[in-house]
């Protein structure tokens, strides 16, 4: 595969992009290459993710967007044969260093998957599990408070407060997905990764999740992989277009969807991909 073709069109985004007060980039990826055995899935991708903003990763199936997302909390470690090269810096520390505990990393970088995957436990325990194992709560009262706060933040509290002991799996698909988001929030992450979080949901449940994403943006760095360009346009401030393992274009979401710089981006977003 040709690795030289993917010179990404980086726009000067210093003026247009929302930043945290200190303008910090929460995650800084440098020259990321991912291999599955001999096959290279990601070609030398460098990009960073700002705090308090939603970055959407879009591109056709197999373009590497999910693979790239999974690098950010070392989910690719769980895949045999998968090798990640390059640096991923959080607070100046390379998350791929040997002394970084992946479990601890994943509490800082939470993840929400395509299919809601609540634990086979009660609603309460789904949320309480993380804070318990990470020792974030001092006693029952404290834990109750964390559960309530997380469910409130995920916009689910009013719907489940009277049945916290019911199994998480008894909720509707959209509620289960919000439960998973609440579960991710409960361990006080800095980053939330979402891998097509709405593709199994109906439009109403999707709208609820999107409203939630917009709400969470004020606190977290959010990275979302989505097949729906309209969703990327609706929820993100920055959009990155991947194709054949290359980062083709990264820019302000408005610019990407109204006036992309790269022909491949234009062809993809207007539905001209051959």
């Amino acid at each position: 595969m040709d690795t030289t073709q993917g010179t990404p069109a980086m726009m000067d985004d210093t003026l247009t992009l929302p930043r945290s007060a200190d303008g910090a980039q929460r995650i800084d990826c440098r020259n990321i290459k991912v291999f599955y055995g001999q096959a290279q899935a990601i070609h030398d991708v460098s990009m960073s993710f700002p705090d308090r903003a939603v970055t959407a990763l879009i591109g056709p199936s197999g373009c590497g967007k999910s693979t790239f997302l999974r690098c950010l909390n070392r989910m690719n470690d769980t895949i045999e044969n998968c090798r990640v090269e390059g640096e991923i810096l959080m607070d100046g520390e390379n998350i791929n260093d040997e002394d970084v505990d992946p479990v601890l990393l994943r509490s800082r970088v939470g993840m929400v998957f395509q299919k809601p995957n609540p634990f086979p436990k009660s609603i309460y325990d789904n949320i309480a599990y993380g804070p318990r194992i990470h020792g974030l709560a001092n006693g029952r009262e404290d834990l109750d408070a964390i559960v309530e706060k997380s469910l409130r933040r995920a916009g689910l509290w009013e719907e489940v407060k009277d049945r916290l002991t019911a199994p998480g799996t008894s909720l509707s698909g959209g509620q289960q997905q919000r439960l998973c988001i609440a579960r991710a929030i409960a361990v006080q992450p800095e980053v939330i990764l979402m891998d097509e979080p709405c593709s199994a949901l109906d439009p109403i449940a999707t709208a609820r999740i999107e409203e939630l994403i917009d709400d969470l943006r004020s606190r977290y760095c959010i990275v979302i992989v989505t097949h729906s360009m309209q969703q990327a346009a609706r929820v993100s401030q920055r959009t990155a277009f991947f194709h054949l393992g290359n980062l083709v274009e990264l820019g302000d979401t408005n610019q990407i969807f109204t006036n992309p710089r790269e022909k491949r981006t234009e062809d993809y977003i207007t539905g001209r991909f051959g």
């Binding site: 969807f257 006036n259 981006t265 062809d267 977003i269 539905g271 051959g274």
Partner: protein
């Protein structure tokens, strides 16, 4: 630009663009024929131009329906989005141009015998660069050329100058013979209508530029010196 995966989408965009060109063609002949009716005192032609405006209105509202449907069903992005938004704006500019040409034709029917040939010629002369502007901007649209669009946008000054000189010329005819005042007032409006058509052409040029380039022509950079 290559075709969409969904071929019906490409066909819908082509139809919209063809309708804009059709409107442009009608508006163009309305300007030419309204001034021809004026110069030859051809009242029948003038009446026919007035009727032609109805056709323009019908195509415009049809284009608007197409646009609403495209936005609702296709959720256009990138160049498609800009093309559709520009079509919406350009169709209403063309509709306005039709109204102004119709107004010239209406006034041509109301002129009395006090009008002399010089007065008629002054309007006809001014209509030439205006028609040319419209023709050029439609070419810019058809060929998706930002350069041609920018050229039209920069040439509006000529029409403004033309208008100012017709205005002064008309005043001298009125001063010479006050019986010409009623017809002269109509003709001053005709000149103003032509000047407005020129303005609509520059608006269209801005939309063509936006559609193709994705950026806006800045009003600050435009040469301008009109006094009226």
């Amino acid at each position: 630009m290559s075709d969409h995966i969904v071929s019906a989408y490409s066909e819908e965009l082509e139809r919209l663009s063809a309708d804009i060109m059709k409107m442009g063609g009608i508006a163009e002949t309305m300007i030419v024929d309204s001034t021809r009716a004026l110069s030859a005192n051809d009242l029948e032609l003038a009446r026919e131009v007035v009727l032609r405006d109805l056709l323009l209105d019908v195509i415009e509202s049809d284009a608007e329906r197409q646009i609403v449907s495209l936005i609702a069903r296709r959720q256009p992005m990138g160049h498609d989005l800009r093309m559709i938004l520009s079509a919406m704006k350009i169709s209403s500019e063309l509709e306005r141009i039709g109204d102004l040409a119709k107004n010239i034709a209406k006034r041509a029917q109301r002129l009395d015998d006090n009008v002399n040939d010089e007065m008629r010629n002054a309007i006809v002369r001014m209509s030439k660069p205006v028609s040319r502007q419209l023709n050029n901007v439609l070419n810019a649209y058809a060929s998706a050329s930002p350069e041609k669009a920018k050229l039209v946008w920069e040439s509006d000054d000529d029409i403004d100058n033309h208008y100012n000189s017709v205005f002064r010329e008309m005043l001298t005819y009125l001063v010479e013979d006050p019986r010409r005042i009623t017809a002269g007032a109509h003709m001053l409006f005709m000149a103003k209508n032509l000047e407005r058509i020129g303005d609509h052409c520059t608006n269209i040029a801005e939309f063509v530029y936006y559609q193709v380039v994705g950026d806006y022509l800045s009003e600050l950079e435009r040469p301008k010196q009109d006094q009226v």
